[in-house]
């Protein structure tokens, strides 16, 4: 019984959503739309669970003075300030919440994003080392694409931008499509396994 109820719910909702995609007729459209709305309601309600979890984890760290507990008050103070300013003044443009968001959250996000440039450089350095013939092929392709992207490429040889276009349009697109087709089949197979209860490890057992 512990497995029957969740598996039945998965089967029924899964079949409804599949039918909703192929059958526009009622009641499938109504049921499909409603199930998606239910998910939105559940997801919205779950934000409280997330907030409670965040508070619990950090309060526990402070209470037990666990390693690096000093960061936790910063998190909790940040949470309270954003919550209070949002609730009192609203989240409209120019409100304190918006000011804090634009002045702190956005720049901090941009800082994290800008780190990507350095990480790309270090990853590219490792990936492009010509250690074997495949890595050499990758290095050559990448070199051509980068050279074709900048004016000096066409200045050196006017065919380099054409080589870049060919590399991006033919081998790159073919590879990406192969990944996408394979992934699409994986999606269907995974969905069928879960809908029909063949995959049930997420429920804690195969019996």
């Amino acid at each position: 019984m512990r497995l029957v109820i969740p598996l039945s719910i998965t089967l029924i909702t899964g079949l409804i959503m599949i039918l909703n995609y192929f059958v526009p007729h009622e009641p499938f459209r109504f049921l499909g739309d409603n199930l998606q709305e239910w998910y939105m309601i559940v997801a919205s309600a779950a934000i409280f669970l997330g907030t409670i979890n965040l508070v619990q984890v950090h309060v526990r760290k402070i209470r037990l003075k666990l390693t690096n507990w000093r960061y936790s008050p910063v998190t909790l103070v940040g949470l309270v300030i954003m919550l209070v300013t949002g609730l009192i003044y609203g989240v409209v443009e120019g409100a304190p919440f918006d000011f804090l968001f634009q002045s702190m959250v956005v720049p901090m996000g941009a800082t994290m994003f800008s780190l990507l440039a350095f990480f790309v450089a270090s990853a590219a350095f490792r990936a492009f080392r010509a250690s074997n013939w495949r890595a050499t092929l990758l290095l050559t392709s990448a070199f051509l694409v980068m050279l074709g992207q900048v004016p000096i490429g066409s200045m050196l040889w006017d065919k380099i931008p054409l080589a870049k276009v060919w590399l991006m349009a033919i081998p790159n697109t073919a590879g990406q499509r192969a990944v996408m087709i394979g992934a699409a089949m994986g999606v269907v197979a995974t969905s069928l396994r879960m809908i029909f209860g063949i995959e049930r490890s997420y429920l804690g057992g195969s019996d």
């Binding site: 995609y21 192929f22 059958v23 526009p24 007729h25 009622e26 459209r29 998910y39 559940v42 997801a43 779950a46 409280f48 669970l49 997330g50 907030t51 979890n53 965040l54 984890v57 526990r60 390693t67 690096n68 960061y71 959250v105 901090m108 996000g109 941009a110 994290m112 994003f113 780190l115 990507l116 990480f119 990853a123 590219a124 490792r126 990936a127 590879g175 990406q176 990944v179 996408m180 087709i181 394979g182 992934a183 089949m185 994986g186 999606v187 269907v188 197979a189 995974t190 969905s191 069928l192 396994r193 879960m194 063949i198 995959e199 490890s201 997420y202 429920l203 804690g204 057992g205 195969s206």
Partner: protein, 395 residues
């Protein structure tokens, strides 16, 4: 003089009146002529649940742009309803109040200040609901073929037939990675991507998390799962708890190790990077949907010397994982992971079915490529190419 000039004055006045352009004087009601709605078409909206008739038209442009358009609907018994008043430049309208099977007549009236209303021609239509989306029949056929292969191979494996599944290096190393973490006395970090539970990659990631949690429970390694969504956190807590119970180690399950960080993409990346640098996990799993944060996470993990197993179906992020991680599950391998790790015959059978379906579609793709190429100069093959194209086209 007076008698002689009077007819001349009247004649001049008449000429002046005749020469005056319309609308610049004289009588108001004869001044403006409005453009008429022409080419009015009313038809049932295809592939819907019924109750909607779409109207489309063009203005004939032979007069002034109307100020507004009145959409009028008539029924066979003479009832007339004004459905809407639209702006003068509108060219379409959906009647969403139609009853299926009832025939309606539609007229659109051009209206303007100081001008006579101009009526369009009358068109009739009725709405109906469809039982099958005509633009998705090809997808249904593909789904049926794929399902057939999967269920047939599941049934075959259920009868006891053994299938060979090629080794996936990344998945074969899961046990090694968890074992290494145990030996080093460090935690295992599992990152399920940044999308919510309505994303199939996150669902696949949760299934793999169950398998990884089973290993960490058996080995006694701490498992950290920072999440970007509250729903994912709730699901992950339940999945891990179930695995610990299955392993007979419910006492070692720590709910607080599966925590929610933030919904913000780079806030999450910063939080996970912080966990990596502070906790120094020996093994990191990055399995799910990732965007720009993928390389930030993978490079930080590499920086702390952790063994990293990544997997995603996002084509744009796969190169980053390949460059920064020890093992990468590419595309479909992410979805195959759970079946591969479980070694359950039924699940392995479904993998084999997926492979067989893939072979079938590869053959179709090759035929399609040949047909499209040869079809350039041989008409029968063009028909084959068009048929295959229509099969995969989805609306």
């Amino acid at each position: 003089m007076g008698r002689a000039t009077l007819p001349l004055v009247i004649l001049l006045m008449a000429c002046a009146a005749a020469a005056q352009p319309p609308g610049t004087g004289g009588r108001e009601d004869a001044a403006v002529r409005l453009s008429r709605v022409g080419q009015l078409v009313a038809e049932d909206v295809p592939n819907d649940a019924g109750g909607v008739i779409a109207l489309g038209w063009v203005l004939d442009g032979e007069g002034a742009l109307p100020d507004s358009l009145r959409v009028v609907r008539r029924t066979a018994d003479g009832n007339e309803t004004v459905l809407a008043m639209l702006s003068g430049g509108s060219t379409s309208f959906d009647d969403t109040t139609a009853s299926d099977g009832t025939e309606y007549s539609y007229v659109i009236v051009s209206l303007g200040t100081g001008a006579d209303p101009v009526f369009s021609g009358e068109v009739t239509a009725s709405s109906s609901a469809q039982w099958l989306h005509s633009g998705r029949i090809g997808m249904l056929v593909i789904l049926a073929i794929l399902s057939f292969f999967i269920f047939w191979f599941i049934e075959t494996s259920r009868r006891g037939r053994q299938f060979y599944i090629r080794e996936i290096a990344g998945l074969a190393s899961v046990e090694d990675a968890v074992g290494r973490a145990t030996e080093m006395g460090k935690p295992v970090l599992y990152i399920p991507g940044i999308m919510d539970m309505d994303d199939i990659q996150t669902i696949a990631s949760m299934v793999i998390l169950g398998r990884v949690a089973l290993k960490t429970a058996e080995y006694g390694s701490p498992l950290l799962v920072p999440t970007c969504r509250s729903v994912v956190m709730s699901v992950a807590q339940e999945v891990v708890r179930e695995s610990y119970m299955q392993a007979g180690r419910p006492d070692t399950f720590r709910r607080e190790d599966i925590q929610y960080l933030t919904d913000d993409q780079f806030g999450y990346a910063a939080g996970v990077d912080g966990i990596m640098v502070r906790e120094k996990p020996a093994a990191i799993f990055l399995l799910g949907t990732f965007y720009a944060e993928s390389l930030i996470l993978a490079e930080t993990g590499r920086g702390i010397g952790a063994i990293q197993i990544a997997g995603t179906a996002m084509p744009s992020q796969i190169p980053f994982f390949v460059a920064a991680c020890d093992y990468t599950l590419i595309g479909e391998e992410l979805y195959a992971a759970s079946a591969y790790l479980s070694k359950e015959p039924k699940l392995l059978g479904s993998l084999k079915g997926q492979d067989a379906a893939k072979l079938f579609f590869i053959v179709l793709i090759v035929i399609g490529v040949l047909a499209a190429t040869v079809g350039g100069f041989w008409a029968p093959m063009r028909g084959v190419a068009d048929f295959l194209r229509s099969l995969v086209a989805v609306s």
